[in-house]
Symmetry: D2
Subunit: 294 residues, 4 copies
């Protein structure tokens, strides 16, 4: 019996970089400006895998790009050219490590972008809890782009039922033909290639998920999940596969009878825990299987 | 020396109630509907003070309205009539306890409302981390309404300086005439009376705070804070006083010189901790002092 | 009607400093050591009030000690001499600002200490969520020390009842003579003077609160709260007053009858929200009223 | 091109159950007791995979065990017999679904146990942020047990270096022969079989990880990670593989020179973000590969 090193990776997590693009960088400091600034607020995580057995076995760091250096690369690449979409920026960072460091066999860069809404040419209001996500995996043999979003919280007050499930000794839930359905969508989709109009693909995927959630009559959250994925794949040929994790954020109708009142599905108690958790993948028959991308 | 009971209060905190208003409550269950639904998503906290020495000293509960009952009151009052603005609903709940329970001398009801954006006649998307707040304090001698908002996160990329401060042995901060200024506004304002167009007052207070943050040239966050309060008080005579807590969410320009790059105020590191914290009150000379309202 | 500045303060919040005390600081770098190290892990927040109208009204920073400088002071004072107990360190920091800056009329320094348990002469394991707190308020006229603890989570499975409360239209809670009682104690106590054996006073206050919670038969959480405060004040003459905020972390006995089972108070559902919140002060008749200390 | 359902599972997440074991359940309610109670505080998550295409494609719930029923099963099984170790309880729950529901092909049950320390025969204090974890995966062909712990936070003030890494254009980190090393261990280990003395195996694995962290001289966190895993696998033949995720919680020595002070590695700034993240697996050459267990 020999003990050995298995899968491993390391990197700098959650470097929080804010990139401002200002047409007026050359003006006198503090001078008033009416120019429009752009802002990109990103939390960047890098993870490197490769020829790193020595550091684990003997503490030999001669091939270990320090995580501090990785952080510096994030800042420097943010400066060197326009950041673009998070997918573009993640690709540039990942390719840097593959190109510059022979010991690195796989670089995975994950970015969470926090959106802001403009309220003035150079002032912004943070908009929402929703995050735009991108994960790029680069190797010398190929690269994969997974985009996503998290904490897109949706709720509908009609068009949702739940009944027809098996009953056994442990069943107490009453069937319902009219319930509140609420979830916080976590969706990640794999692109079939690495050259895409990222902004348009994201905007359309997002729009289709919201529209389907809102309009598709729901007999279960699973049905809604699949319909959301199907809508995205039907419309966007550049997307190969989409994975969802969707909590069922329960809204229980309050029993008002003890107080002499009817509850005509108008007063709900929003419960934190426990919650249902529905996870599912929607894919294409002809999609390449790419487990290394996730 | 005698040991005695000092100030005390108790209640049910964070009852999460979602109130749906549906014009079509009478239709057949599960039938399709195109009617527009309204949603009000509130977390309600009740705190009662009064004649409660006995329970502390001997465990005599004969005057103690259980916190479970308080929760039930929140649900029942949400059902009995339209909720209206959070200030209206907080007033109804607070008055209930003052009217029905002789032992209660002060009822304080705090509501945090989570806004949602309509995406469909009966579907919604949660909008932002910002919360609408209301705290009502009711006694037999008067009542006070404090409204507020929390987690309104703002950032500006121009029009902010910081210099001219005292230097001593412990000073290392360089002066700047051009910095990123970011904060998460926590604002609470006291109304001079309890009958107000709550929705309009809130919307205008919020709009003025954002506009002032964005447009007022800033030599310090304190100056910005005062200007925001002044703008609100000048425009809204029904508001007597406004209190702010505003973190200075530091965005440090990254030193890119080691990488042979200039940073023309374009690449920032957003730091979590430590952070500046600026707290201040803006008030009127003729405002009644109402410490009991907060 | 004139708009004016009311109460205000500002400072650097949450400077996270870890102070290591090593008897062997002079040894060769990297050399092995068997000496015992001490560690003090503190998050320090400073808030200054005083002659700060100008910065609010005109942005004149000439009296504003930058929050960055405040952070530097925390690090420098941590280096200059042994930190001691958090009360000692908070006193040193607060006095620094009062002594060195004429514009500062009140310095408030709050420290949250994270305890660690030694597992080796120079290795440690973090122990618990509980935090040791100290808040010192210094002025030219006096100084006040409030110590405390937060997130001391306690639970008892016997010796707790709740019955005899008023019933009305909104009451549904059944009375109980045997319930689980759980809370997360937040306690803050004011010392009658600023020279105290802080470590002993804290350890004894903590011990007495836990012992009283565990052994005092409880008819309500209010009764338990008062008994905890009384035990501390009776034993520690240097403590003038103690304030508690104690959530009632509900553990509901699960109804197992639908599954053909009895619940002999053995299976509980621990609910997150809503929760009861009990707040109370225990004080002495002869204690000086010191609202400025809190 | 056909769109189809890929991998999927669903279940009830985070049912928070507290199980009290009381030798004295038959005594009169409210009567005093000196008997020793035991407490088990668990958050249980269930995820089922199997024959669930219909619900995704058409909303047919006829094979869908409701998540509400899953929650009821957790409570009922907690009542029916002693809970034992979390691994035992997870096995019982997982086997229930496999046995009772033909549509379920894989049941995965994850439990996070929150430890409590006894302070009295029937009172407890919550001890630490550390969680005991167990994940059981049951199918008709086999079952796998993964145990673990999370948020075991460790720090050492000596015996840690970091140097000898590659330098390039983006390197600014100075080498060090004496640094503070801190991490929050997340460790998960796979058992080679499903009958083990869970309590002893866990206690020993935990003890060995802490001891190795403390005593092994460290040239990198990767080296420490591997040594921790190696120590566990050498001592516990029932453990087949162990996976770690260990953040490098940076403690930066503060530059005190601007204040005319030396920092002899005594004053550190504990940074929140970014942080290093080291992930690695330690395994045996002869261990069965069991990706389905994780």
């Amino acid at each position: 019996m020999t003990i050995r090193l298995g899968d491993n990776q390391y990197g700098k997590a959650e470097t929080h970089v804010v990139r401002v693009t200002r047409g007026d960088a050359g003006r006198a400091q503090g001078a008033p400006s009416n120019e429009i600034h752009e802002i990109k607020d990103m939390t960047v995580s890098v993870a490197l895998a490769g020829d790193f057995a020595a550091v684990h076995l003997t503490g030999d760091n001669s091939k270990v790009v320090p995580t501090d250096t990785q952080k510096n690369v994030v800042f420097a690449l943010a400066a060197e050219s326009p950041v673009g979409e998070v997918e573009d920026f993640a690709l540039r960072i990942a390719r840097h490590f593959i190109r510059d460091h022979a010991s690195v066999r796989r670089a995975r860069v994950s970015i969470a972008e926090q959106p802001w809404t403009r309220v003035h040419p150079h002032a912004f209001e943070r908009s929402g809890t929703e995050q735009r996500l991108a994960t790029v995996t680069s190797t010398r043999d190929g690269e994969w782009v997974v985009s996503g979003l998290a904490e897109l919280t949706l709720l509908k007050t009609a068009g949702s039922e739940f009944w027809g499930y098996p009953k056994d000794r442990y069943t107490t839930l009453p069937e319902t033909h009219d319930r509140v359905l609420a979830t916080a969508v976590d969706a990640r989709w794999l692109y079939a290639r690495a050259e895409v109009d990222w902004a348009e693909a994201r905007a359309e995927a997002r729009r289709l998920m919201i529209e389907t959630f809102a309009t598709k009559h729901s007999l279960s959250l699973q049905q809604t999940l699949f319909a959301m994925g199907e809508a995205v794949l039907e419309a966007r040929p550049e997307i190969a596969e989409i994975r969802f994790a969707m909590p069922n954020k329960h809204h229980f109708a309050v029993d008002l009878q003890p107080f002499g009142l009817d509850n005509r599905n108008e007063v709900f108690y929003a419960s934190d825990r426990p919650y249902g958790l529905i996870e599912g993948t929607v894919t294409r028959d002809d999609a390449q299987h790419a487990p290394q991308a996730w």
